[in-house]
Symmetry: C2
Subunit: 342 residues, 2 copies
């Protein structure tokens, strides 16, 4: 069923039917009523492509997801997308996921723009100097960045205080008396990863503790990495008495390795994990309950969707940015170091 047919059925012009359906004020209420009823009855719904072609606006936002590295389409991504979806569905905005196999991200973004398939985009996982952001900002294409990057051109972004999170966590461990603290975080090059390491380093340096490169790991967020690297840590002399884990997945592996060694969490070895708040993996329910730096990635998604809508409503990008604080939540996996019984 198309507009023309619907109009014929009703004995009205396409124009009037179109106006009635799109809520234009100059339509007689009775007519509108009649039109709406008929549309419902015939299951009419405008051809989105024709509509977009005519209006020049799409009603969809784009997101480019590299799919070969599990790092980028794992549980974090799905939680984030859920958050986005929650807000966007209210305005009936779809999102278009463009999978990316090779590494030519820039051209994927460019194609998405020039083919006019989306009104705006969301960019995730920025590096310190991110060429995607530079390009989009330069092109003045509306987008919101999840994370931060050092690009001068004004753009909208939302980030959490990753540096503060690891600074807080490290400082807390130092307060408890730990001298040897390790960290396992995400891949090097990403801003969040660099920021976290900065926080960690600052806290140590502030107390005059030298930094041991053997205690710093950057890799994917997974149970396996957590396990393997913790085993390595525990074979060192002296070994760390506390470990920061960049994700809950990592933390699971770290925990296993600690237990496998016969140590107790929060005793011989403490652990603080960054918790992005997964509904299916709850830090407070673990045994022992896990001390975490917490910030909901899902909420971030929702908020970013909100920012996107503001951007599309014409708000200038330079006024749209936020840094979210991260809470340190003390539970039982962190405590003063206990000397292992020989």
């Amino acid at each position: 069923m198309k507009l023309k047919e619907l109009a014929e059925q009703l004995g009205l012009s396409q124009t009037t039917v179109s106006r009635a359906l799109n809520g234009y004020p100059e339509v007689n209420e009775a007519t509108r009523e009649r039109v709406n009823k008929a549309a419902l009855k015939f299951g009419y719904s405008a051809n989105a492509n024709a509509r977009r072609l005519a209006m020049g606006r799409v009603g969809a936002i784009g997101i480019v997801v590299p799919i070969h590295s599990s790092e980028r389409f794992g549980p974090h991504t799905s939680e984030f997308l859920s958050g986005l979806a929650e807000r966007l569905s209210r305005d009936e905005i779809d999102f278009l996921i463009t999978p990316l196999i090779n590494n030519d991200e820039i051209s994927a973004y460019k194609r998405l723009i020039s083919s006019k398939r989306v009104d705006a985009m969301i960019v995730s996982h920025p590096s310190l100097v991110d060429e995607r952001v530079a390009m989009l900002a330069e092109a003045q294409f509306p987008f919101v960045l999840h994370g931060r990057t050092n690009i001068d051109t004004p753009h909208a972004w939302l980030d959490i205080d990753n540096k503060g999170a690891f600074y807080q966590a490290t400082s807390h461990l130092l307060d408890l008396g730990h001298k040897h603290i390790a960290m396992i975080d995400g891949l090097k090059g990403f801003t969040f990863s660099e920021h976290r390491e900065e926080g960690y380093r600052d806290a140590l340096t502030e107390r005059g503790i030298s930094i041991d490169p053997n205690f710093i790991v950057h890799d994917c967020f997974s149970d396996e990495i957590g396990f393997r690297e913790t085993q390595r840590f525990l074979s060192l002399k002296p070994h760390p008495t506390a470990i920061l884990a960049g994700s809950m997945m990592t933390a699971l592996g770290v925990s296993r390795a600690i237990r496998a060694k016969g140590y107790q969490l929060g005793k011989e070895v403490s652990i603080i994990a960054h918790d992005d708040v997964f509904p299916y993996l709850n830090a407070s329910n673990m045994v022992p309950a896990m001390t975490t730096t917490r910030s909901s990635i899902r909420s971030a998604g929702t908020r970013i969707a909100e920012m996107l809508v503001r951007l599309l409503d014409g708000e200038p990008p330079e006024t749209i940015h936020e840094v979210w604080p991260v809470e340190l939540i003390l539970r039982q996996s962190s405590g003063p170091p206990v000397i292992p019984a020989k």
Copy 2:
């Protein structure tokens, strides 16, 4: 830059340029070369909406994701989407995710069809009698079902042998000497959940073991549910000496509860989990390594994308369906029951 402008630049007609770009055979190779080079130079890329309007084909497939239940947009979904993406990106097919807040799924599907935004759809999480499937099959709209349902109208689908998986797992535990076996699986009503329970029941019945409704749980897949329900199990007399977990998330919670009670996995209480194969959560790396029924949900996604492409190429839906076997992989979390030391 639009087609017209590009054509003017080249001193050619729009038609020729269009044909050159779209790989039509009747174009002079030299001309094609020239056109392609110019397109690249000017960053031209066709307006997707105009293109779709003219062609009547979209180059995108749709997927409706209910977002309020974490059950439906969790790690399983993201792995599945990754798999889809892997195959679809080869044909430059995007996917459109339509978030769904209220429960009116049917009308969301109908709108997606009549607005011509997608060429085909993927339907997940069917119930035994699924009205979405009935509607789509009736409307002869191309779609592939992930899972199975009892609908007569021919349609394409891919499912794993859920019944066989739980049958195998249960039988194995019975072979080991277990008499009291519990299961924690997904929400009731979904086909996969029902099939699994069937497999479980069949195995027990076959050995003349009566079924205790207290030993059967249907709920979301999460660490928390696994933990809570296992605590409940272990407070029963007699309590189960083996537990089937419907997901790895559930299994994490089950494991914790077993350990919290002072039992060892594979000794006092055995566990077999269904493993959808998450890259960040590896059953063989757990301590003890986890016995699983394994079937990669990501591969299923890739295969379903493949089926979708065949469907769009005109293959009739009734010839497109597969049941994948599920492997039982024995590791250390399952063993003969050990009587707890008092």
